[in-house]
Assembly symmetry: C2
Homo-oligomer: 115 residues x 2
DNA sequence: ACGACACTGAACCGATTGGTGCAATGACGA
DNA sequence: TCGTCATTGCACCAATCGGTTCAGTGTCGT
């Protein structure tokens, strides 16, 4: 029906932030220490405006924290630890292992006897 | 360089497939056993066409495998184990822990001597 | 053979994405 | 104060996304 309630929950924001190699590169780079927008943009041959948008996406996901320092903006890793993202993948992997064990049919028969 | 540099296309597809709660729900459902497009669509109040598109996205990411059986399409979990997706997050978490330890500056000085 | 059923293809829609260029803004250095 | 420098806001663009409707196509049950 109407699923407009929460247009972007946390997991949505995190996974879609990670779904771009430029942004994953930014995180890798920031793992080595803080950087300005210009320093992040240069290795990708991207405009400052474009890089600012990527950083904003990462910041909205909590993966990056930024602070205006003088005329430049210092970017560093943020508070988001990806625990939830990791937990979801672990959960999926448990499902997958169950599939691997050929328990699908068994589990299917059990549906209705639980939540 | 470093071993977390997998095929970014694959990682892009996987993370963007996961960046939607409807698709995560589909995976959870398929973890309980195979289902048709209709069975997947019904709990979301979505059209069959809409659900077919979601399933296609998951299939392109390797997370779902489908097979036409009679007039319905059977969907089950696919071959993708999310090992790369998990590995990348683990890699990020190591960066984050290093940040937490306040070793950013130290690490910056050490650039070039890493594994 | 016929009708109901499950899905698919195509066209369409509004919103978002990933990028650009250009004009401002605001801080630095001489 | 003046020019330069780093970033930002705005408008714009083409492509993709998440969803719909409608018109098929092919299969099943009787």
């Amino acid at each position: 029906m109407v699923n407009h309630m929460v247009q972007h929950d946390t997991l949505d924001r995190i996974y879609s932030a990670l779904a771009d190699s430029t942004r994953r590169d930014i995180l890798t780079r920031l793992g080595e220490g803080p950087a300005s927008i210009g320093e992040l943009a240069e290795p990708h041959g991207m405009t400052l405006t474009g890089m600012t948008k990527h950083v904003r996406v990462l910041e909205d996901a909590g993966l990056v924290r930024t602070e205006k320092v003088g005329r430049s903006r210092q970017c560093r890793l943020g508070e988001e630890r990806l625990d939830d993202a990791m937990a979801w993948i672990s959960f999926y992997q448990r499902l997958w292992e169950r599939r691997l064990d050929g328990l699908e049919a068994f589990f299917t028969l059990q549906r209705g006897t639980e939540e």
